[in-house]
């Protein structure tokens, strides 16, 4: 049986989690380098359409792992279902995105199979025949290369932003989709999920935004936020802020970016009037392109900005909005 890589994609309430595409990109790269077959799986109850979505990408086969017991999500059910599937399918390498949900069940899954997980990896290398996975230690101060000493299946999770979801290759034709019905005994599931806490439901998930316009103290007054919102709208992005703005109640807390807010890595991060205190930077330094506007030439944000605009944001943003609108109209 040829060696295979299995990418387990994640879904929530009928929608594919965007970060699964990053894992697929990783899978495709690994498959190309090793020559192993690439397969994917989606677990849940009515996940047929999602499996088809994944099948449009360049994979050999997609499995829909279904059972009514997989909805709502519980770690016990997911671990049991995937264990069954992996034991029969015997993939060599199992890849998943390092999401909250994966963190909840993958340790249980791996341990149940007598294996371990190399988690939150930021990349991989191939040293001859051996696959080596890189993960960060001590808040990013060190990078460690880790490889498996055990027999397959090997479990790996990748960090958000480690691979480019937009670089995933589409398939020449849709891959075959097979539905696997798994049996999960009631006694296996020990949790009974209750209604989701209101606080856990965020109005906006900034980690899914591709463009973010972020404001700091430089915005001066609450009414000026309107300007930033217009820019965000013109660009098709989301509005976000550094801590003082949210603390003052000018934007809700789920818009906060930084060590006590969200960590984001969008394609474009526009920082308006943000000084760049380290507490904010750690929340956005992974962004692909950073444009910073600040009238203080010494602002620390300029140290990590790709484009530094030293000037008054109130002079710069209004014409910028116009130019963006013009460019979009012309395009």
């Amino acid at each position: 049986m040829s060696e295979s890589i299995l990418v387990v994609a994640e879904q929530h309430e009928g929608k594919l989690n965007r970060v699964s595409l990053e894992t697929l990109t990783a899978g495709q790269a690994l498959a190309a380098e090793t020559g192993w077959t690439l397969q994917a799986a989606v677990a849940g109850n009515a996940v047929g359409p999602l499996a088809n979505e994944v099948a449009a990408k360049k994979v050999s086969k997609v499995y829909a792992i279904v059972s009514p017991k997989l909805d709502p999500y519980t770690p016990d059910a997911f671990a049991a279902a995937l264990k069954q599937f992996i034991e029969s399918g015997k993939p060599k390498l199992v890849l998943m995105p390092h999401t909250y949900q994966v963190r909840d069940f993958v340790p249980k899954l791996a341990t149940a199979m007598g294996r371990t997980v190399i988690s939150d990896c930021i990349g991989y290398k191939k040293n001859g025949e051996r696959l080596v996975f890189t993960r960060q230690m001590f808040q990013g101060k060190l990078a460690a290369d880790v490889s498996f000493g055990s027999e397959p299946p090997w479990f790996v999770t990748f960090q958000n932003g480690a691979f480019r979801g937009d670089k995933v290759e589409a398939g020449a034709s849709p891959a075959p989709v097979e539905t696997i019905n798994v049996e999960i005994a009631d006694s296996v599931i020990r949790n009974k999920p209750q209604e989701v806490f209101k606080e856990a439901k965020q109005a906006v998930d900034l980690t899914q935004a591709e463009i973010i316009v972020s404001i700091g103290r430089g915005i001066k007054e609450q009414k000026n936020i309107e300007l930033a919102k217009q820019l965000a709208e013109a660009l098709g992005g989301e509005i976000a802020a550094s801590r003082p703005i949210c603390d003052s109640g000018w934007l809700p807390m789920d818009r906060q970016i930084g060590s006590s807010g969200q960590t984001v890595a969008p394609k474009l991060y526009l920082a308006l009037g943000i000084s760049g205190a380290i507490q904010h930077i750690v929340g956005m330094k992974g962004s692909r392109t950073i444009i910073a506007v600040n009238k203080d030439a010494e602002a620390p944000i300029f140290e990590i900005a790709d484009y530094a605009v030293v000037g008054n944001l109130f002079d710069i943003v209004p014409p910028l909005i116009e130019e963006v609108k013009k460019a979009k109209a012309g395009a």
């Binding site: 806490f197 603390d247 807390m253 060590s259 006590s260 205190a277 380290i278 507490q279 620390p300």
Partner: protein, 570 residues
């Protein structure tokens, strides 16, 4: 509108009986718990028919992990540990025995080594330790011994039954910014304890409640505190000599301020570096974090740190004023140990060994009560034990040390000299003292540009490599709190902030807080255009604000348990 943390009223709380509740899991609290366990074990092995249980002895620790809020230089005098755990040096995490020590008087660019290390600062026989790691280890021994440590639980108020301390109420969890219960609300427990031992560290919040209720300080000198600001630096291999101890006096402080720096060589190329500023300086614009940054720019220090990396930051207050500032140590249902009582030798700059010894003595007193089933016995015993122990012997000799310095550096040296020859008496048996914040002078009486103290005033800018601005330093304290909770820095009258303090003292909270918790922000509706704004989740639990605010209108109470700094390795 600032809403401050207050235990919720009119709700049902879980009630739990206890024999002994120790509030605080630092060196004093842990030593107390361990000693109590040893005494109970010993008793049980000799009295099979009359066993005592450890099940009703609890340690409350507000940090998420034992040791997480412990910060000190630190140098450990092993005297009390050798009594508690003979042979402890074999297994305790000690960085290095002190190998060489030097005291320098420092000027802006030069330094002068004192030819003879003053006797109190001779550290031969002591150990360089990380208090955080040491307490973690000590805590593991407490847990092994079978005493329950509740981490993530703070003591939020004392329970009284008339004039008796009847127990401790823990913090309400899951309360939002408006002090309203959230969906994950859990009311604090009412622990009905036969004895409460307060081991909260410097300026304990329950200790403060107790002192105020019974006016315990009425015949004592007020407690003076210093603020210690510390950075851990990782230096190029070979630069740090493990066990090397350096103290400095002088620059950047002037004769108007008291304090100095310490540099302790640890293991693995890590050096502990910090500056202590006594909280009795005259200019309210002084910023202790700025003082440390200034200090690092001295050529000698800059050379030492060149090529190194700052890996952790923290700050804590500590009690300086010695024997005459210690309150009555015990009463009906309560005892106070460690820094909460003020057991610190300010001439030697050491308090950990005294904290441990006091914890042991309190345990011995509490054990007597457990044995006899009569809890009125222990409290009187504890006071007596301390007064006949080497704690008193050691602190008596330096009972007037700090007060001498209130009148200036050279005056202090003069008095300290005389005290050396008179067993601590000096010119009078008891020197009086005044509270630190009373030394703060109004801006109107100070030069607008700060005069000779200008380099100590206001926020540090930092170059990002050797020196840092406060926010950058603060990031390295690892401090984290649940964001959606009421502010735990209670300002009893915010009108004073916007109407009086800003003019009279220039809002010194912005300067003395090492964590950027306090900020005056623009507000056109205020008489002077600004109002006080708080960033409570930045707090590192140092208590400086409670100590140093000139109007004494700030009360620090513990935030929701589990929050606070992460003093790994400190």
């Amino acid at each position: 509108m600032l809403i401050f943390r207050k235990p919720l009223e009119g709700i049902e709380r879980p009630q739990m009986p206890a024999d002994v509740v120790i509030v605080g899991g630092g060196p004093a609290g842990m030593a107390c718990a361990l000693r109590l366990s040893q005494l109970i074990d010993q008793h049980n092995s000799q009295n099979p028919d009359n066993q005592l249980t450890k099940e009703n002895i609890y340690v409350l620790e507000k940090a998420r992990e034992i040791g997480q809020h412990c910060l000190s230089g630190a140098l450990l005098d092993p005297r009390s540990m050798r009594e508690l755990l003979p042979g402890f040096e074999q297994e305790a995490p000690l960085d290095a025995p002190v190998s060489k020590e030097a005291v320098y008087f420092v000027t802006r660019t030069g330094k002068f080594k004192l030819p003879i290390t003053p006797p109190p600062l001779r550290d031969h026989g002591n150990y360089v330790i990380s208090l955080n790691r040491f307490v973690k280890w000590l805590g593991s021994k407490v847990e092994e011994a079978g005493i329950t440590v509740f981490t993530g639980f703070a003591g939020s108020e004392l329970l009284f039954d008339g004039n008796r301390v009847a127990g401790v109420r823990t913090d309400d969890k899951g309360v939002d910014k408006q002090n309203q219960p959230k969906s994950n609300f859990e009311p604090g427990y009412d622990l009905h304890a036969k004895i409460v031992i307060l081991a909260e560290g410097p300026r304990g919040s329950l200790t403060k409640q107790l002192i105020q209720k019974f006016d315990l300080m009425n015949d004592r000198n007020p407690q003076i505190y210093g603020q210690g600001i510390k950075e851990l630096w990782e230096l190029p291999p070979g630069r740090v000599i493990p066990g090397q101890v350096i103290y400095t006096m002088g620059w950047p402080l002037t004769t108007k301020e008291y304090g100095g720096a310490w540099i302790y060589g640890g293991k693995d190329n890590v050096v502990s570096l910090g500056f202590v500023t006594a909280l009795e300086y005259p200019d309210p614009r002084l910023d202790p974090q700025h003082v440390l940054q200034d200090f690092k720019q001295h050529p000698f220090i800059a050379r030492l740190l060149d090529g190194g990396k700052m890996i952790r930051y923290g700050a804590k207050s500590f009690p300086y004023s010695g024997w005459w500032s210690i309150p009555p140590l015990a009463g009906d249902g309560w005892m106070i140990v460690g820094d909460s009582a003020g057991f610190l030798n300010s001439a030697r700059l050491k308090g950990i060994h005294l904290a441990i010894k006091s914890g042991m003595l309190a345990a011995e007193a509490a054990f007597e009560s457990l044995k006899q089933g009569d809890f009125s016995v222990s409290t009187g015993q504890y006071q007596k034990k301390v007064e006949s122990s080497w704690i008193k012997e050691e602190l008596w000799k330096v009972r007037n040390f700090h007060q001498g310095f209130e009148r200036g550096f050279w005056t202090g040296m003069f008095h300290a000299g005389i005290q050396q020859f008179t067993g601590g008496r000096g010119l009078h048996n008891r020197y009086t003292g005044s509270a630190g914040y009373e030394h703060l002078r109004k801006l109107s009486s100070l030069p607008a540009d700060g005069g000779a103290e200008a380099h100590l005033l206001g926020p540090a800018k930092g170059d990002g490599k050797l020196t840092f601005d406060k926010l950058t330093d603060l990031y390295h304290s690892g401090t984290k709190h649940e964001e959606d909770q009421p502010a735990h820095l209670i300002i009893h009258d915010t009108n004073i902030c916007s109407a009086r303090c800003i003019k009279e003292y220039g809002s010194p909270c912005q300067n003395f807080c090492p964590a950027n918790v306090y900020e005056m922000v623009d507000d056109v509706e205020q008489p002077n255009g600004k109002r006080i704004s708080l960033n409570p989740s930045n707090c590192v639990h140092c208590k400086t604000c409670d100590i140093q605010d000139p109007y004494q209108i700030i009360t620090w109470v513990p935030p929701e348990g589990g929050g606070g700094p992460n003093y790994d390795g400190m």
